[in-house]
């Protein structure tokens, strides 16, 4: 019954429609079908027969899984550390003064922190055996988060189990496809990976060049005026490092904050080096410039520098930081930081609060070393005076980066043989956004004596004079 009625209905439609419309509609239908089929077939329109498929499979020759590696590749021959790391370090059989480990405050040698960590091991065991969500949250983790938030005077902190994954998870927790991120071109590799994971549009500005950033922001403003609908939905971020791992320079925070306010950006600062080194109380780059920490939306930092343990944290307002507990991939889907290392971070914070003079001591040492190391005849120094991380480059550029790296490696090897541990900064040149000029990365330790700095200077100067 219903079928017959339907048939009649369709018949009447046909009869009542003009012919040209029928032809047009038929053409349309054919186009739609053709398009659909076309899409289905992907690149190749034709469906292959089984025999053809079998032949393709038999003929298919994949590339090898990985390319061959040159057995002389520098990264295959890493230096071996043979002692507990401190102001002194044994590398490849040589006892050296340590200018390479990022142990700025000298906490790696601290017996008190070690004892407390061991006590924690005796309470919780070594591993946490689960992500934070699944019984991997221990009271020490909550304690540490509390302490960091209090120390920084912010509402909430969130602890990650790996320094690299901290900022690399934090960025894509907020920035998504279609969003805009303005980034300093010298940012470290972890930030670069965070940017990749976000799939946002990335705009790089020249290193520490606020004018360039403003120029880009103005350009963007013009684009926004053309498409205000899209602009109203695009989140904008500004990402910088407190002290840049790759240059040792400090970001111009007050200018960045001014631009953040003017262009309504959200400012993320990676303080992996500047936390616990800058400012009177070690609160980082915000304290260094006397900027209110509420002006920065999110601060992230690794605990693998001044705190001398493993892991990282993000700290900010409750509104911002809490979000990572449900969307920071490296936080949710990974086991929590081993409790003894968490305890080490708590103990480091205890020291921060109890002995705030250590920061000034470190800054003084950084300045002393800076003044001294400016005087190399064949090397140039880069980095801020108070920064504990500095880079030494060849004063006379070689013809390419490979050559430079080779020379610097030789220089470092000879310095190590003469009792001063310095290392060339390790980069994966083919995976960085753009190749980074090879350098020796110097890390200052609070416990260095002036005489040791002088001695190191002599050794490096004499080796560099002979090598270069």
């Amino acid at each position: 019954m219903v079928a017959i009625q339907l048939f009649n209905e369709i018949g009447s439609i046909f009869r009542n429609t003009p012919t040209f419309a029928l032809v047009l509609e038929t053409l349309l239908l054919i186009t739609v079908i053709w398009l659909l089929l076309h899409r289905r077939g992907g690149g190749r329109r034709r469906q292959l027969t089984k025999e053809e498929e079998d032949r393709i499979i038999a003929d298919y020759e994949p590339e090898p899984l990985v390319a061959d590696t040159d057995p002389n590749h520098p990264l295959l021959h890493t230096r071996v550390v043979q002692s507990r790391v401190g102001k002194r370090i044994q590398v490849d059989g040589h006892d050296c003064l340590n200018l390479g480990s990022h142990n700025y405050l000298g906490f790696l040698e601290d017996q008190e922190i070690l004892e407390e960590a061991c006590k924690s091991l005796r309470k919780y065991g070594v591993g946490s055996c689960g992500p934070r969500g699944f019984y991997g949250t221990m009271d020490v983790h909550l304690d540490l988060e509390d302490r960091i938030a209090k120390f920084m005077g912010l509402e909430e902190a969130i602890v990650y189990s790996y320094g690299f994954s901290t900022v690399a998870s934090a960025i894509p927790a907020y920035a998504k496809r279609g969003d805009l991120i303005f980034v300093d071109e010298a940012v470290n590799f972890a930030i670069q990976k965070g940017l990749d994971a976000s799939r946002s549009t990335i705009v790089f500005f020249k290193h520490n060049d606020v004018e360039d950033l403003e120029r880009l922001l103005i350009e963007q403003e013009k684009r926004d005026q053309k498409n205000p609908k899209k602009a109203a939905k695009t989140r904008r971020f500004l990402v910088a490092e407190g002290i840049y791992m790759n240059t040792g320079e400090i970001c111009p925070l007050p200018d960045l904050v001014a631009l953040r306010q003017k262009y309504k950006l959200r400012l993320f600062i990676d303080e992996s080096i500047s936390f616990g080194t800058l400012g009177q109380g070690g609160h980082g780059v915000t304290e260094h410039f006397n900027v209110d920490r509420d002006e920065v939306d999110l601060i992230s930092a690794g605990m693998e520098g001044s705190m001398a343990t493993v892991g990282g944290f993000c700290v900010g307002s409750h509104f911002i930081a809490e979000h990572q507990r449900l969307s920071g991939l490296g936080y949710i889907f990974s086991a929590s930081l081993p409790p003894m290392l968490t305890q080490a971070a708590i103990s480091a914070l205890d020291r921060f609060e109890r002995e705030p003079q250590i920061f000034e001591q470190l800054q003084a040492k950084s300045k002393t070393l800076h003044q001294k190391f400016l005087r190399f005849s064949k090397l140039t120094l880069r980095g801020d005076e108070v920064s504990p991380v500095k880079h030494l480059y060849l004063a006379q550029p070689a013809e390419n980066f490979d050559k430079e790296l080779k020379l610097l490696t030789e220089l470092a090897d000879k310095c190590i043989a003469r009792g001063v541990a310095v290392v060339q900064a390790a980069y994966l040149q083919n995976r960085e956004r753009q190749p980074v000029r090879p350098s020796i990365r110097i890390a200052v330790n609070r416990l260095l004596e002036s005489s040791e700095i002088d001695n190191a200077f002599e050794v490096i100067e004499s080796v560099s004079s002979s090598v270069l």
């Binding site: 590696t69 370090i89 065991g125 055996c129 990974s334």
Partner: protein, 597 residues
Amino acid sequence: MGNFDGDSGTVFEQSYATTNGNGKVPNGNGAADLSAPEKQELLRKFSAPAYTEIRTRRCQPKPANDAQSPSSINYHPEKKSIPNGHASILDQESKPNQAEGKLSPELEHFQKTSFEEVPLHTACLTYLGFYLLMILGYINQLLFVPKVATEKGRDGYVALYDAFESFYSRYVYRRIKDCWNRPICSVPGDELTLKDRVTDDYGWSFKFTGTETRCLNLGSYNYLGFAAATGQCADDSEESARSSGLAYCSSRCELGDNEQLQELEALTARYFGVEDAIVFGMGFATNALNLPSLLGPNSLVISDEKNHASIILGLRLSGATTKVFKHNNMRDLERVLRQGVCYGNPKKGGQPWDKVMILVEGIFSMEGSIVRLPEVIALKKKYKAYLYLDEAHSVGAMGSRGRGVTDYFNVDPKEVDILMGTFTKSFGSAGGYLAGSKKLIDFLRTNSHAHCYAASISPPIAQQILTSMKTIMGEDGTDIGRKKIHQLARNTRYFRRRLAQLGVITYGHEDSPVVPMLVYLFSKIGAVVRTLTTRHIAAVGAGFPATPIMEGRIRFCLSAAHTKEQLDFALEAIDEIADDLGLKYSRKPRDPNPVIY
């Protein structure tokens, strides 16, 4: 009550069954041997929870201190005399955790894996319940916006969060938020101690009550029971911390390489019987930061739909084309593989792929299923693809020698191109490894993001892996490792069979120590987890978005540290809760015979 003070090291020693928290295999004194004062102690420990029990059907409230001591459980009285888990009866009683290989891999998989369909009315109810929750949440949002939900000092900015996402977490997830992120203050061993917390505002915030609750731990990934604060592993780790410090503050490529890590890599390679291995400080990063080095934009990746977030992130970073196949479904894998190889890269006009890689996990952590490795390897060979196997949950836990799923299926590990796994679970430490040919590992040493930029592993953490791995391999001169592996296999089979007998639906393979029990409804996840806690059992719930909306579940992770008494204790509680909350969904015939441990 329920608030025992003193340091948990000593409390741990008084666990209700045996002293097996210290990395040693229990030694035969079941709970039945407990003396009267010890029983008293037990009752004291297992009472006065800070959690409220949820009862639906049987509404007689039980007195608070009626939690049963495990020794009074008499599920199979005739079997009670069997001592618990040890070498004397091990050889004739328990078979190792190993595929038998008598049947074809396909048949064996079907016999041993279960993914029972949900009854239709439950499915309808689940959806209904979920939408009801959403609607209630929506109304709630209209009427009540708390102060924490707004941002300060950023007027006129584009909203930071997606509206649905924040709605979901604030108004739906919050209702059962107390079931996750529960803080503990002890070793996550066979038992753990929860720090009790309460919420006065329906989950917006929590307050500690100051009391603690000791629970049987069915939530941590402590498969072989190496999580311990005493014993060889802890001793060695402490010594390592004292001699080498807590960190290196440098990457492997600068000043972070050392003999301990080189030893660990050599040992890992030997453990799997492959040429070389490389280790990293975090399992998540092992996937996320190494897959991009191995894959390029003209690579095709065929990935199981249930793969872990770290794998998915790694694939996203790599820029490779990813195709997903149905979970553990070999026919679908072949279909996708065939299509991929035959039709090439559509973005490049059908040009052949540089390489095709199949990405699977050994044990899938949410499904409890075991990869059908022999069949995957056959397909990989047929289509000349490469195989990346993530053994995060299976390494240590599977196979008669604990070497993971290759061991379980008796497959040559060299057949798998890239063996990946983590040290977080069975080894009771932290970190991850990749193992395979020397060529592969050399390539990774020169191209891995984590190797070059991330901090190297902390000495005590590396030492824990070394000691536990040597124990599993028997290189410590004891058979502790072997016993642990057998104990886990035995616990797994016993627990899974008993659950099936209770009539609840569990997913996965009968040899998998990850046991998801389906409860379907979103609100039942909360109810079951909370009620289990009042019975002193810590388990994990998982719901949308970690699982499909339909398939809310409770997950139990078994451990070699558990004894039969502990499992019986848990099973009895689960039985009652399943009756109360109506979880016995299974329509399969139940085995009427008692399950032999």
